[in-house]
Symmetry: C2
DNA sequence: ATAAAATATGAACATATACTAATATATGCA
DNA sequence: TGCATATATTAGTATATGTTCATATTTTAT
């Protein structure tokens, strides 16, 4: 036996529950068209909630809900300016995956 | 104006419906713990349906349903040997994303 | 042709998810 | 304080999703 009780999860037959949860949550975040559109919008610059709402033709409520979802997963962050909140992306790894997959899907 | 009517989707404010569908479907496939476990299992070698079922303690029916899902997205393929079907992964890009994200999640 | 083994399918069910309308909260300013 | 603007939250609803049981299909061997 070696001194490492457990090898990296990737080498095991099965994954532990916590890893499974985090990974599935992360991908779930990218598994919805609305959230993809929002993240894609935030690729280049920050947007206010209303900015997103108007640009993507989504209800303010819908945008706010999805931003909370993304915020909980730390995929976006915001800064305040008066009553306005400016959201921007906050996870390079996820944004890279998204970019790659979009490029991959765009019948290159 | 230039001769390219449309730049790559990634540079536009919004994505077209088809791209949105493909991308969200791809991530949706990775957004479920059961499918993640199956794909993770298929990382190293092929497995029969029953093999997956027994290894992951899942009903045969559940595995079969999820494999169909993954097959429709061309994330897995199979070869036949008698009455047994051996499944293996069929999308390097997706498997790489999965590996990266698992490693990323495993509090490295 | 019939039976056995492996896998696929269909229907039913419970839960999760996303959107909406209505309302609440928070901030800045007169 | 009172009002306007921006955002968040709550509750309700419709749809999507994942699992299970039962059954059908497919393939091989006898």
């Amino acid at each position: 036996m070696e001194d490492n009780k457990e090898r990296a999860e990737i080498d095991n037959k099965d994954l532990d529950e916590e890893t499974l949860f985090v990974v599935s949550q992360t991908f779930k975040a990218l598994g919805d068209p609305t959230r993809i559109r929002i993240l894609n919008l935030l690729f280049h610059k920050e947007f206010s909630v209303n900015g997103i709402s108007e640009t993507l033709h989504l209800r303010q409520s819908t945008v706010s809900h999805q931003l909370r979802f993304l915020k909980n997963l730390r995929l976006v962050k915001y800064r305040r300016e008066g009553t306005t909140l400016y959201y921007s992306h906050d996870d390079e790894h996820v944004m890279n995956m998204l970019r790659q997959t979009i490029e991959h899907a765009c019948h290159n």
